[in-house]
Structure formats: C-alpha cells, structure tokens
C-alpha cells in the first residue's frame, strides 16, 4: 500500500533524512492536486447535480436555472476549479451546498468522531493482533497457531458491513448488551471540548457519559478492527518467526534466559519493527472501512459525511473532504516511512 517498499537504503543516514522528508512533501503536492482534480471533474460531469437534489420532484426549469446560477454551476468547469483553488490558497474550503455552513466547521465537527472510532479500532486490532501473532509464532504448528491463523484469514475475508449488522443482531437485538448505533444515549448530557466524546467525558469527569460513550464505541470499533487485526496478527507471526530463527536468540536461550524473557525482551522488540510499519499502514484500511462502518452504525464521522456528500452531490463538501482525507492519508504514510527509518536498529548499525 505505501511507498515504504521503495525506500532507499541510503536515506537512513540521519543527515539525509530532512531532505528526504522535504522531497516527499513536495511530491505530496502534485499527488493531492491530482486527487482533487480527478474527484472534482468526475463529479461535476456526473448527471445529477445538487440543484436537482435540493429541488426534488418539484424542480422546474426556472428554479433549477436560478439555483445553478447561484451555486456557480453554470460556469465552465475550469473556472469553477480555479475558484476552488483560489479559495484554498486563502485557507478557505468554502461553504457547503446543503447546510450552507463553512466546510471547515463541518470537518471540525465530524473528524473527531472518526478519529475516536479509528483509534479505538486500532487499539483493539493491535492488542489482539499482536497477542495472537506472538502466541502463534512461539507455538508454531500447534492447534493454537492454526486456529489463530485461520481466524486471521477469516478476518481479512470478512465483509465488514455484514459483520457489523450481524454483531448488531446478536449483541444489541438478542442479548441487549450494547447499543445499536450513535455515539451517546439519549438521556446523557455531555459538555464537548474536543468532540471526541470518550475523551471529553474523561476531561469533564463525567463518568456516566464516559461509560456510555465507550459502550457505544465497542461494536463499531470491533467491526472496523477485524481486517487490521488479522493483518497485524499475520505480520507479527511471520516477523517473530524470522527473529526467533536468528543466532542471538539461540545464544540468549543457551545462556539460560527463560523462554518468556527471550520472547518478550529480545525477539519481540526486534520483531516489532515491521509490525509497526504494518500498523501505520492500517490507517488507510481504517479510513476506507470507516465509510461502511459509520454508515451502518450511524456514526457521524467523516466517512459517512463523505458518502452522503457524494450521494447529495455536495461538491463543496467533496472537494474539501477529499483533499483533507487524502492529505491525512499521505501524511500518515510519510510518518510511517520516517518512523520506520528512525526505529530500525539494524540499519543504524550498518
């Protein structure tokens, strides 16, 4: 998924790091522009436009004409795109077509919800993924190994939109343990600071709200975590197996260190490097999965927002939102690559 595979070994030299980062950032700009141009033109030549949707069944030619005029949709496309860029340079993402609100304000409202969900999912996938990975590697070819690796394969083969619905069916409908959707129960009041509800609840010491927010997180976060969890588990296993074969592990064992100590202290630490990279790359998977998960669990984050915007042809939201998501995406990939370079001890030895 990322460009880490193409990384040049020379760059690990600390002095070369800064220019490397700068170059990557420079490459980012045409990439982002490319994304926004493609998305912009594709959606604008698509037949349904926001005027049509706003007016619905009762649209008349006159009303459509006036509304399009107002939204600037009668201008040639390159001028519309130019206007968008001009605003962008001023740091302005414009105003949404439907809610007539600053796009930036909407991003600020929705992004924390996605962050909360993704981080929760990432934590779940790391904890379980690494655990099963280590267990599998240390007990290679045992029943446990087979089971967890088959589990991991089932995990990557899972249609998560379906899994979400099935979990909802079991845990909310039949057992009644967990709420079906949304971020907070109806009676719960919460003062928002960051809009990450569980964090806000902690900051304001609101335990009832914290419990409620976490309770609402469980199902969507678990649903979203399945694929990354499986990937992390497999990566941990193969990385651990490779390290366990190394001589120094054998030496450590020979020295009489306990098996557990060797596994955790020596092997795991070294095996962690590719795992960390893998984890970083899961952000992309999470962002994509968030669209489906948020739609199913009515989680008001950017994924659902973007999907609705495509359906409603809210060009302003799509333009601003895609750029924002792509920027996040590319930045995370960059950070992962840099981190990889920084933490990789084998390379610094060379």
């Amino acid at each position: 998924m990322s460009s880490s595979g193409r990384s040049n070994h020379k760059l690990w030299n600390q002095k070369l790091m800064l220019p490397y980062i700068l170059r990557r950032i420079l490459i980012m700009i045409p990439t982002l522009l490319g994304v926004s141009i493609i998305v912009f033109f594709m959606l604008h030549v698509t037949p349904g436009d926001p005027a049509e949707l706003l007016l619905g069944e009762r649209a008349t030619d006159e009303a459509l004409l006036q509304l399009r005029e107002h939204l600037g949709l009668n201008e040639p496309l390159y001028i519309q795109y130019g206007m968008f860029l001009k605003r962008l340079l001023k740091g302005d993402l414009g105003e949404t077509i439907w809610t007539r609100q600053k796009v930036w304000i909407e991003v600020k409202q929705r992004f924390p919800a996605t962050i909360e969900l993704s981080i929760a999912a990432l934590i779940i996938s790391c904890v379980f993924g690494i655990f099963f990975g280590i267990v599998s590697a240390t007990k290679q070819y045992s029943i446990l190994d087979y089971l967890s690796m088959i589990g991991a394969l089932v995990g990557v083969s899972m249609p998560i939109f379906w899994l979400g619905l099935v979990l909802m069916l079991i845990f909310s409908l039949h057992l009644g343990w967990l709420p079906m959707s949304g971020r907070l129960s109806i009676g719960i009041e919460l003062e928002t600071i960051t809009n990450i509800y569980s964090l806000d609840a902690l900051l304001t010491g609101n335990w009832a709200a914290f419990k409620d927010a976490v309770w609402h997180l469980v199902l969507p976060a678990f649903t979203l975590s399945t694929i990354p969890m499986a990937i992390v588990a497999r990566m941990t296993r193969s990385s651990m197996l490779e390290v366990l074969k190394q001589d120094y592990i054998k030496t450590a064992r020979a020295k009489g260190l306990s098996r557990f100590a060797v596994t955790m202290k020596h092997a795991f630490r070294n095996a962690l490097i590719p795992v960390v990279t893998t984890i970083g790359l899961q952000f992309g998977v999470l962002m994509g999965g968030a669209i489906l998960t948020e739609t199913i669990f009515a989680w008001p984050g950017v994924g659902k927002w973007m999907y609705d915007a495509v359906m409603q042809r809210d060009y302003m939201v799509i333009q601003g939102g895609t750029l924002f998501i792509a920027a996040m995406f590319v930045t995370i990939n960059l950070v992962v690559d840099v981190l990889y370079a920084v933490i990789n001890p084998r390379i610094s030895v060379r």
Binding site: L32, T322, I325
Partner: protein
C-alpha cells in the same frame, strides 16, 4: 512488493513448476481454499440446474418464509424467502455467478492495464515512469472504497461500472509488481543482448521479462479475486453496484437490512456466502504465495 521469482537451482533437471505444484499440494490451507473455490465455481456454472426456483421472479404472497429448520419453514424454500417472496437459496446460487464475474472482469482489467503500465514504466524509466508512478500514487493516496464510490457516482451505479471502478483502483497493485521486476531484469545482460541484436522492445518485455514476474502476479491475481468480491459486495450494499433484481450478495444484504428485526435470515445468509467465497480465494492465494514466492515464505 518488488519480489521476483528466483530460479532455484535444481539437482534434477526438472522445471521449477513441478516443485511448486508439489509444494502447493502439500499445503493444506491452499487445498482447502481450492476446494472452496471449486464449490463456488460449480455453483456458479450449474446455478440454473441447482436452483429450485427462479431467482428474480417475485411472488409477493410468499414473502418472508423462514428457513426449513423453523417450524414455519418449508422444504420448498430451504433457506427461506425474502420480502418479495423470492427463494434465497436460488438467489445465493445465482449470486455466485455474479461474484465470479465481478472477480474475473475487474481483476482482469487491473491485470492487463496494470501489467502494461508497469512494463512501460519499468522499461522506459525516466519521464514516462515518473508520470505513470505519480498517477499510481494518486490512486493510492485515497481510501480505495471512497475512490470507487466517486467513480461509480460518475459512471452511474451498475454492476458493469462497479467492475470498472474496482478494476481501476487495483491497477497499482499489478503495475508495481511488473515495474519492479522489469527494472531488475533490464539490468541483466541478456536483455542488453536482446536489444543489441535488435529485438523489439515489446517483444523483450513479453518473451524475456514477463515470465519472470508471473509468480507474484498469479498470487496477486488470486488475492485480487478475493478483495474484488468483497469490494463489489460493499458497493452493491451501498446501492452502487448490482441493481435489482440481480441476485448479488451485497445487494441482498442491503435489502435484508430493513428486515433485521423481523427476518434475520434474509440478511445473514448472503453474508456467509461472501465470507466463504472470499476465504477460499484468500486461502488459496496464501498457499500460492508460499509456493511461488519463496521470498515471502516464512
């Protein structure tokens, strides 16, 4: 990702293919995957023979019959009916056709376009390479399902367009494999020699270089089948892929969603079908990787 198949030196003068085939046969997971795939393919081909009912014809007064193991269930509809009274088993069987078609067509698009772009990119290098790779970056700079949604919104929701969209977003996977391999092979003497005797560029690529990256490409294709089935189901679930009354598994889940309180089977059964089909390709792809792609082996 730039893995190439190493020619393993053999004591016996045997083509490495046989070694790999042996390897594969011994791999239990791969064989399990193969069996699932075969079942899936047989269902797809024999759907008209195996299906007890017409998968499309609505029969409104037969709606929401539960599966046979329920008291109200009948052997007429083994897996029950949906809210238009259509037999779920028949729709699942025909759905295998749709999913197989999606997998083959979309991965086919990605395979050919990606390989071609990758080969051009790796062979000519420089400016062309740069342009192509930037375009690949653009495709990768975005959660791929979101890009597929935008593309389908542009092309119009239909199964055909969903296949195209998925095909396009999978291009970089193949392009990168071929590009890496081509670049590596181009350094070698025999390519220079071929060039010197005036062989055409394209011929060099196809005759000399292409066979060398076939291993990773096959692995990627198999795994691509798996994810294409998943992505197509997701698009159909969102109403952007197969349109009714096409019996498509993702669309069946979407239709069953509003019945979650009343008829769980309408939504649950198609999901299991997706899971098994995708699992089959993933198991087999994994086994293939172990066999064909020694560097990726544990």
């Amino acid at each position: 990702m730039m893995v190439t198949m190493k020619k393993t030196s053999n004591a016996e003068d045997r083509h490495p293919f046989w070694d790999q085939a042996d390897q594969l046969r011994k791999n239990k997971t791969a064989m399990a995957g193969l069996i699932i795939i075969l079942v899936f393919v047989v269902c797809a081909i024999l759907a008209p023979v195996l299906s007890p009912h017409n998968p499309i014809e609505a029969s409104l007064y037969d709606q929401l019959k539960p599966p046979v193991w329920y008291e109200a269930g009948t052997s007429k509809n083994l897996l029950g009916t949906d809210d238009l009274g259509r037999d779920i088993l028949s729709r699942i069987l025909y759905g295998a056709r749709v999913s197989l078609l999606v997998a083959v067509v979309s991965v086919g698009i990605a395979f050919f376009t990606g390989s071609l772009l990758g080969a051009i990119s790796g062979y000519f290098k420089g400016f062309i390479d740069n342009i192509i790779m930037r375009i690949m970056d653009i495709i990768l700079a975005f959660p791929h399902i979101l890009l597929a949604i935008v593309m389908v919104a542009y092309l119009g929701p239909s199964l055909k367009n969903a296949m195209i969209a998925i095909g396009v977003i999978y291009i970089p996977r193949f392009a990168r494999i071929v590009r890496g391999s081509v670049m590596e092979e181009c350094e070698k003497d025999y390519v220079a020699a071929a060039r010197a005797i005036g062989a055409k560029d394209m011929r060099i690529i196809f005759n000399a270089i292409f066979p060398n990256c076939l291993g990773p490409l096959i692995v990627q294709t198999t795994l691509g089948f798996a994810s294409a089935i998943l992505d197509a189901a997701a698009l159909s679930f969102l109403g952007l892929g197969a349109q009714p009354p096409t019996p498509e598994w993702g669309a069946m889940i979407a239709m069953g969603r509003s019945l979650i309180l009343r008829a769980w089977w309408v939504m649950t059964i198609p999901g299991l079908a997706i899971l098994f089909a995708v699992l089959g390709f993933n198991l087999f792809g994994d086994g293939l990787r172990d066999a064909l792609d020694p560097r990726m082996r544990d």
